[in-house]
Protein backbone atom coordinates (compact mmCIF):
# COMPACT_ATOMS: atom_id res chain seq x y z
CA UNK A 1 0.00 0.00 0.00
CA UNK A 2 1.36 3.37 -1.06
CA UNK A 3 1.89 6.36 1.25
CA UNK A 4 0.69 7.05 4.76
CA UNK A 5 -1.87 5.10 6.77
CA UNK A 6 -5.45 6.36 6.72
CA UNK A 7 -6.47 8.56 9.67
CA UNK A 8 -7.79 6.66 12.67
CA UNK A 9 -11.22 7.34 14.16
CA UNK A 10 -9.67 9.67 16.75
CA UNK A 11 -7.78 11.57 14.04
CA UNK A 12 -10.92 11.86 11.92
CA UNK A 13 -12.89 13.29 14.81
CA UNK A 14 -10.11 15.75 15.62
CA UNK A 15 -10.13 16.86 11.97
CA UNK A 16 -13.91 17.23 11.83
CA UNK A 17 -13.87 19.16 15.11
CA UNK A 18 -11.24 21.58 13.80
CA UNK A 19 -13.20 21.98 10.57
CA UNK A 20 -16.42 22.69 12.46
CA UNK A 21 -14.71 25.27 14.68
CA UNK A 22 -13.28 26.98 11.61
CA UNK A 23 -16.65 26.97 9.86
CA UNK A 24 -18.43 28.32 12.94
CA UNK A 25 -15.91 31.18 12.96
CA UNK A 26 -16.56 31.85 9.27
CA UNK A 27 -20.31 31.78 9.93
CA UNK A 28 -20.02 34.39 12.64
CA UNK A 29 -17.72 36.64 10.57
CA UNK A 30 -19.64 36.61 7.31
CA UNK A 31 -17.13 34.26 5.73
CA UNK A 32 -14.27 36.70 6.32
CA UNK A 33 -11.41 34.19 6.39
CA UNK A 34 -8.98 36.86 7.66
CA UNK A 35 -10.83 36.81 11.00
CA UNK A 36 -10.34 33.08 11.35
CA UNK A 37 -6.71 32.50 10.43
CA UNK A 38 -5.76 30.75 13.65
CA UNK A 39 -8.61 28.26 13.30
CA UNK A 40 -7.80 27.82 9.63
CA UNK A 41 -4.26 26.82 10.53
CA UNK A 42 -5.55 24.43 13.20
CA UNK A 43 -7.91 22.92 10.64
CA UNK A 44 -5.07 22.47 8.13
CA UNK A 45 -2.81 20.90 10.73
CA UNK A 46 -5.44 18.43 11.92
CA UNK A 47 -6.60 17.23 8.51
CA UNK A 48 -4.86 15.65 5.52
CA UNK A 49 -4.39 18.16 2.73
CA UNK A 50 -6.77 16.18 0.52
CA UNK A 51 -9.49 16.46 3.15
CA UNK A 52 -8.95 20.20 3.55
CA UNK A 53 -9.51 20.58 -0.21
CA UNK A 54 -12.55 18.32 -0.03
CA UNK A 55 -14.11 20.24 2.85
CA UNK A 56 -13.34 23.62 1.23
CA UNK A 57 -15.24 22.45 -1.85
CA UNK A 58 -18.05 21.16 0.36
CA UNK A 59 -18.41 24.53 2.04
CA UNK A 60 -18.44 26.33 -1.29
CA UNK A 61 -21.10 23.97 -2.52
CA UNK A 62 -23.24 24.37 0.60
CA UNK A 63 -22.99 28.17 0.34
CA UNK A 64 -23.92 28.05 -3.34
CA UNK A 65 -26.84 25.77 -2.58
CA UNK A 66 -28.04 28.12 0.17
CA UNK A 67 -27.73 31.05 -2.21
CA UNK A 68 -29.87 29.25 -4.79
CA UNK A 69 -32.46 28.46 -2.18
CA UNK A 70 -32.69 31.97 -0.81
CA UNK A 71 -32.01 34.13 -3.86
CA UNK A 72 -32.97 31.88 -6.72
CA UNK A 73 -30.89 31.22 -9.77
CA UNK A 74 -29.63 34.37 -11.50
CA UNK A 75 -27.98 33.82 -14.83
CA UNK A 76 -24.84 35.93 -15.31
CA UNK A 77 -25.52 39.26 -17.03
CA UNK A 78 -24.51 39.36 -20.71
CA UNK A 79 -21.77 41.89 -21.52
CA UNK A 80 -23.80 43.85 -24.01
CA UNK A 81 -27.53 43.66 -23.84
CA UNK A 82 -29.42 43.51 -27.07
Amino acid sequence: AAGMAAPTMEERKACWGARDEFWRCLDSHGDDAAQCEKLRRAFESRCPQQWVKHFDKRRDFLKYKKKLETEGFQPPEAAGKS
Binding site: A1, G3, M9, P48, Q50
Partner: protein
Protein backbone atom coordinates in the same frame (compact mmCIF):
# COMPACT_ATOMS: atom_id res chain seq x y z
CA UNK B 1 -60.22 -35.75 -7.69
CA UNK B 2 -61.30 -32.15 -8.21
CA UNK B 3 -59.64 -30.89 -5.01
CA UNK B 4 -56.26 -32.32 -5.96
CA UNK B 5 -56.57 -30.80 -9.44
CA UNK B 6 -57.41 -27.40 -8.00
CA UNK B 7 -54.50 -27.50 -5.55
CA UNK B 8 -52.16 -28.42 -8.37
CA UNK B 9 -53.34 -25.45 -10.46
CA UNK B 10 -52.93 -23.08 -7.54
CA UNK B 11 -49.41 -24.38 -6.96
CA UNK B 12 -48.58 -23.84 -10.63
CA UNK B 13 -49.89 -20.30 -10.51
CA UNK B 14 -47.76 -19.58 -7.44
CA UNK B 15 -44.71 -20.98 -9.15
CA UNK B 16 -45.28 -18.85 -12.24
CA UNK B 17 -45.75 -15.73 -10.13
CA UNK B 18 -42.51 -16.44 -8.31
CA UNK B 19 -40.65 -16.97 -11.56
CA UNK B 20 -41.97 -13.72 -13.00
CA UNK B 21 -40.86 -11.86 -9.90
CA UNK B 22 -37.42 -13.40 -10.06
CA UNK B 23 -37.18 -12.63 -13.74
CA UNK B 24 -37.99 -9.01 -12.96
CA UNK B 25 -35.34 -8.80 -10.23
CA UNK B 26 -32.80 -10.40 -12.52
CA UNK B 27 -33.71 -8.04 -15.35
CA UNK B 28 -32.59 -5.18 -13.13
CA UNK B 29 -29.23 -6.92 -13.57
CA UNK B 30 -27.70 -5.30 -10.55
CA UNK B 31 -25.31 -7.36 -8.50
CA UNK B 32 -25.11 -10.11 -11.09
CA UNK B 33 -21.97 -12.12 -11.40
CA UNK B 34 -19.86 -13.57 -8.64
CA UNK B 35 -17.17 -11.19 -7.43
CA UNK B 36 -13.89 -12.78 -6.30
CA UNK B 37 -12.11 -10.87 -3.54
CA UNK B 38 -10.16 -11.46 -0.33
CA UNK B 39 -11.14 -10.68 3.25
CA UNK B 40 -8.94 -9.17 5.93
CA UNK B 41 -7.48 -12.56 6.83
CA UNK B 42 -6.41 -13.03 3.22
CA UNK B 43 -9.00 -15.74 2.57
CA UNK B 44 -10.68 -15.81 -0.84
CA UNK B 45 -14.34 -14.74 -0.65
CA UNK B 46 -16.80 -14.74 -3.51
CA UNK B 47 -20.33 -13.39 -3.60
CA UNK B 48 -21.61 -16.97 -3.55
CA UNK B 49 -19.96 -17.50 -0.15
CA UNK B 50 -22.51 -15.13 1.36
CA UNK B 51 -25.55 -17.09 0.14
CA UNK B 52 -27.87 -18.07 2.90
CA UNK B 53 -27.54 -14.64 4.51
CA UNK B 54 -29.07 -11.24 3.95
CA UNK B 55 -26.25 -8.88 3.05
CA UNK B 56 -25.92 -5.10 3.38
CA UNK B 57 -23.03 -4.07 1.15
CA UNK B 58 -21.26 -0.71 1.00
CA UNK B 59 -18.43 0.36 -1.34
CA UNK B 60 -15.95 2.87 0.07
CA UNK B 61 -12.31 3.51 0.98
CA UNK B 62 -10.35 4.07 4.18
CA UNK B 63 -8.93 7.48 3.22
CA UNK B 64 -12.46 8.81 2.82
CA UNK B 65 -12.92 12.25 4.50
CA UNK B 66 -16.37 11.76 6.02
CA UNK B 67 -18.96 10.01 3.88
CA UNK B 68 -17.68 6.46 4.37
CA UNK B 69 -17.38 6.59 8.17
CA UNK B 70 -20.87 8.10 8.32
CA UNK B 71 -22.35 5.48 6.01
CA UNK B 72 -20.59 2.65 7.88
CA UNK B 73 -21.83 4.05 11.19
CA UNK B 74 -25.33 4.08 9.72
CA UNK B 75 -24.94 0.57 8.31
CA UNK B 76 -23.74 -0.70 11.70
CA UNK B 77 -26.68 0.95 13.42
CA UNK B 78 -29.16 -0.55 10.94
CA UNK B 79 -27.71 -4.02 11.54
CA UNK B 80 -27.89 -3.54 15.31
CA UNK B 81 -31.55 -2.47 15.02
CA UNK B 82 -32.31 -5.66 13.09
CA UNK B 83 -30.32 -7.78 15.55
CA UNK B 84 -32.53 -6.47 18.34
CA UNK B 85 -35.37 -8.55 16.91
CA UNK B 86 -34.60 -12.23 17.62
CA UNK B 87 -37.28 -13.35 15.16
CA UNK B 88 -35.27 -11.97 12.22
CA UNK B 89 -32.44 -13.80 10.44
CA UNK B 90 -28.96 -12.28 10.89
CA UNK B 91 -27.73 -9.67 8.41
CA UNK B 92 -24.17 -9.74 7.12
CA UNK B 93 -22.62 -6.26 6.82
CA UNK B 94 -20.06 -6.12 4.01
CA UNK B 95 -17.56 -3.48 2.90
CA UNK B 96 -15.75 -3.56 -0.45
CA UNK B 97 -12.95 -1.09 -1.05
CA UNK B 98 -12.83 1.09 -4.16
CA UNK B 99 -9.16 1.88 -3.40
CA UNK B 100 -7.34 -1.48 -3.51
CA UNK B 101 -4.00 0.25 -4.06
CA UNK B 102 -3.97 1.50 -0.47
CA UNK B 103 -6.65 -0.62 1.16
CA UNK B 104 -4.92 -3.95 1.65
CA UNK B 105 -6.06 -6.49 4.27
CA UNK B 106 -4.21 -4.77 7.12
CA UNK B 107 -5.54 -1.31 6.25
CA UNK B 108 -9.09 -2.63 6.05
CA UNK B 109 -8.81 -4.49 9.34
CA UNK B 110 -7.62 -1.33 11.10
CA UNK B 111 -10.34 0.80 9.57
CA UNK B 112 -13.30 -1.54 10.06
CA UNK B 113 -12.44 -2.18 13.72
CA UNK B 114 -14.37 0.97 14.60
CA UNK B 115 -17.65 -0.30 13.18
CA UNK B 116 -19.89 -3.33 13.57
CA UNK B 117 -17.94 -6.35 14.89
CA UNK B 118 -19.30 -8.66 12.18
CA UNK B 119 -18.53 -6.23 9.35
CA UNK B 120 -16.47 -8.10 6.75
CA UNK B 121 -14.04 -6.12 4.60
CA UNK B 122 -13.02 -7.20 1.11
CA UNK B 123 -10.20 -6.12 -1.12
CA UNK B 124 -8.38 -7.59 -4.10
CA UNK B 125 -6.42 -6.78 -7.20
CA UNK B 126 -7.33 -3.64 -9.14
CA UNK B 127 -9.14 -5.80 -11.68
CA UNK B 128 -11.09 -7.84 -9.14
CA UNK B 129 -12.26 -4.68 -7.38
CA UNK B 130 -13.11 -2.99 -10.68
CA UNK B 131 -15.25 -5.99 -11.63
CA UNK B 132 -17.05 -6.09 -8.29
CA UNK B 133 -17.85 -2.37 -8.51
CA UNK B 134 -19.00 -2.75 -12.12
CA UNK B 135 -21.36 -5.58 -11.14
CA UNK B 136 -23.16 -3.07 -8.91
CA UNK B 137 -22.71 -0.19 -11.35
CA UNK B 138 -20.79 1.69 -8.70
CA UNK B 139 -18.99 4.70 -10.17
CA UNK B 140 -15.34 4.90 -9.07
CA UNK B 141 -12.90 7.67 -9.96
CA UNK B 142 -9.60 8.27 -8.17
CA UNK B 143 -8.72 11.97 -8.02
CA UNK B 144 -5.35 13.61 -8.72
CA UNK B 145 -2.51 12.90 -6.29
CA UNK B 146 -0.97 15.68 -4.21
CA UNK B 147 2.72 16.02 -3.27
CA UNK B 148 2.38 13.32 -0.61
CA UNK B 149 0.79 10.95 -3.08
CA UNK B 150 -2.52 11.26 -1.24
CA UNK B 151 -5.78 11.29 -3.20
CA UNK B 152 -9.50 10.83 -2.65
CA UNK B 153 -11.70 8.45 -4.62
CA UNK B 154 -14.97 9.79 -5.91
CA UNK B 155 -17.58 7.02 -5.86
CA UNK B 156 -21.31 6.29 -5.76
CA UNK B 157 -22.57 6.29 -2.21
CA UNK B 158 -25.01 3.42 -1.90
CA UNK B 159 -25.73 0.50 0.40
CA UNK B 160 -27.01 -2.58 -1.41
CA UNK B 161 -29.33 -5.21 0.04
CA UNK B 162 -28.86 -8.77 -1.21
CA UNK B 163 -31.18 -11.60 -0.23
CA UNK B 164 -30.05 -15.09 0.87
CA UNK B 165 -30.07 -16.17 -2.80
CA UNK B 166 -27.53 -13.45 -3.55
CA UNK B 167 -30.08 -11.45 -5.49
CA UNK B 168 -30.18 -7.66 -5.32
CA UNK B 169 -33.33 -6.47 -3.54
CA UNK B 170 -32.87 -2.77 -2.77
CA UNK B 171 -30.37 0.03 -2.40
CA UNK B 172 -30.15 2.88 0.09
CA UNK B 173 -28.72 6.32 -0.56
CA UNK B 174 -27.06 8.76 1.82
CA UNK B 175 -30.40 10.33 2.68
CA UNK B 176 -31.89 7.18 4.22
CA UNK B 177 -31.55 6.87 7.98
CA UNK B 178 -30.51 3.69 9.80
CA UNK B 179 -34.09 3.31 11.01
CA UNK B 180 -35.43 3.56 7.46
CA UNK B 181 -32.91 1.02 6.20
CA UNK B 182 -33.80 -1.42 8.99
CA UNK B 183 -37.51 -0.99 8.30
CA UNK B 184 -36.98 -1.61 4.59
CA UNK B 185 -34.85 -4.70 5.21
CA UNK B 186 -37.53 -6.08 7.55
CA UNK B 187 -40.11 -5.56 4.80
CA UNK B 188 -37.98 -7.47 2.30
CA UNK B 189 -37.45 -10.26 4.82
CA UNK B 190 -41.23 -10.53 5.30
CA UNK B 191 -41.88 -10.85 1.58
CA UNK B 192 -38.90 -13.08 0.82
CA UNK B 193 -39.54 -16.45 -0.76
CA UNK B 194 -36.52 -18.74 -1.16
CA UNK B 195 -35.71 -20.03 -4.62
CA UNK B 196 -36.73 -23.63 -5.11
CA UNK B 197 -33.85 -25.85 -3.88
Amino acid sequence: GVAAGWLYLRHQKERQRRERRLHHLRSLSLGQGNFQLQDTSGAARSKADFRGRWVLLYFGFTHCPDVCPEELEKLSRAVRLLEADPALPPVQPLFITVDPERDDAAALARYLRDFHPRLVGLTGSAQQVREAAAQFRVYVSAGPRDDDGDYVVDHSVLTFLLDPDGIFRDCYSRSRTAEEVARSVRGHMDSYEPLAP
